[in-house]
């Protein structure tokens, strides 16, 4: 019986270990869009550019659209540093003292869309934040006007 060479076993172990080390909460880097949003049918309510708060430069623009009564927050273009447990908050002020959670950040780069849940008065919401929830750290925010 031919034995598997030690080198192959070792290499397989290293590859397997590295594959298992992929962080569960890492944010994907590919562009992410949802099927429900159609820009041709939506009207822009307000928008604003992202500014860095911590952990490296974030660039891009946050838009708020209305499509048949449903409100969408669209990040396009968008580039953000990666981090654990990144969430998108839609808030009334700079400190996110009252916010709506739009969900997990779908991607660290490229166009992405988020439905605003419930029926909030979007006029009261002036900021979009990228927030590392697990460590309570704000990465960036965009003031939308």
């Amino acid at each position: 019986m031919k034995l598997i060479p030690t080198k192959t076993v070792f290499l397989g172990f290293i590859i397997g270990t590295l594959a298992c080390c992929k962080p569960e909460n890492a944010t994907p880097t590919a562009s992410a869009t949802t099927s429900g949003f159609d820009m041709t049918k939506a009207s822009l309510i307000k928008k604003g550019d992202f500014v860095e708060v911590s952990h490296g430069p974030t660039t891009g623009t946050a838009h708020v659209y209305d499509q048949a009564g449903t409100k969408y927050v669209v990040l396009d273009p968008f580039v953000s540093p990666s981090g654990p447990d990144l969430k998108v908050y839609f808030s009334k002020d700079k400190n996110a003292s009252d916010y709506i959670r739009l969900g997990k950040l779908l991607s660290t780069r490229g166009k992405q869309e988020y439905i605003v849940p419930g029926s909030p008065i979007v006029g009261d919401y002036h900021y979009v934040h990228i927030w590392c929830e697990a460590f309570s750290v704000e990465f960036s925010h965009a003031e939308i006007k």
Partner: protein
Amino acid sequence: MKMKFYCLVLICSSNVCGVYSQSTKKKSDDFVNATVAVAKHQGTFALAYVHRWRFGVHKKFGVGLGGRFTSYIGANQHYETAPAQLTSGGTGPSVIFKETITANIDTFLVKSPQVNSLNVSINIDYRLSKKITAGFNIDAIGFSFGGSRNGNYINGPSGKMTDAKPTAFNILLISDNDRGSLNSEFYANYSLNEKWGLKAGAQFLFTEYTTATEVQQFPSANNRFRNKSLLFCAGVSYQL
């Protein structure tokens, strides 16, 4: 000369043993201990004084009363809705048998919690051998203090960033009826000599924050949030 030295050592050690066995038969004694406890992203330091009364023919059973200062520090800790009325749908002793109502539990995430508490504590122990004692202690009543912290109140799709302070008044009741920050330990103490001992065990700690406003509104208004931590603890004890 050598013989004399051995005799001297023998006499001294027999005297120490004599004193030691005498101390284990005392009706009451006093001791202090210093304990550190750690778990993932959190830790405590505690100083305690206990006056203990010994019971039984061989004075193996001890009940003590004392005071304990506990200082807790953590990072990114989740505090959950505290009042028994919300967690168990009622108050009173029966809450211990009730399931937690998960729909009523909201989270308050505190980035850098730091709570200090000073409580009257109860200690119960049993001397398993001359060297080893197993025991349990729990805080009963006292107060907490610490700086204000900003936290993230999370309630499904919505949330608020708000300030909070450690709940000032602590009292041990039953299960979720408890209020404030309370420490408890299951431990074993190994006596190195008549005075000094080493202890190790498990620490179960409640810390509680009260938010500046009643951020939780459903099913009723609430501003108290509790963290339950299980930590490994080790320390030293000193017989007074």
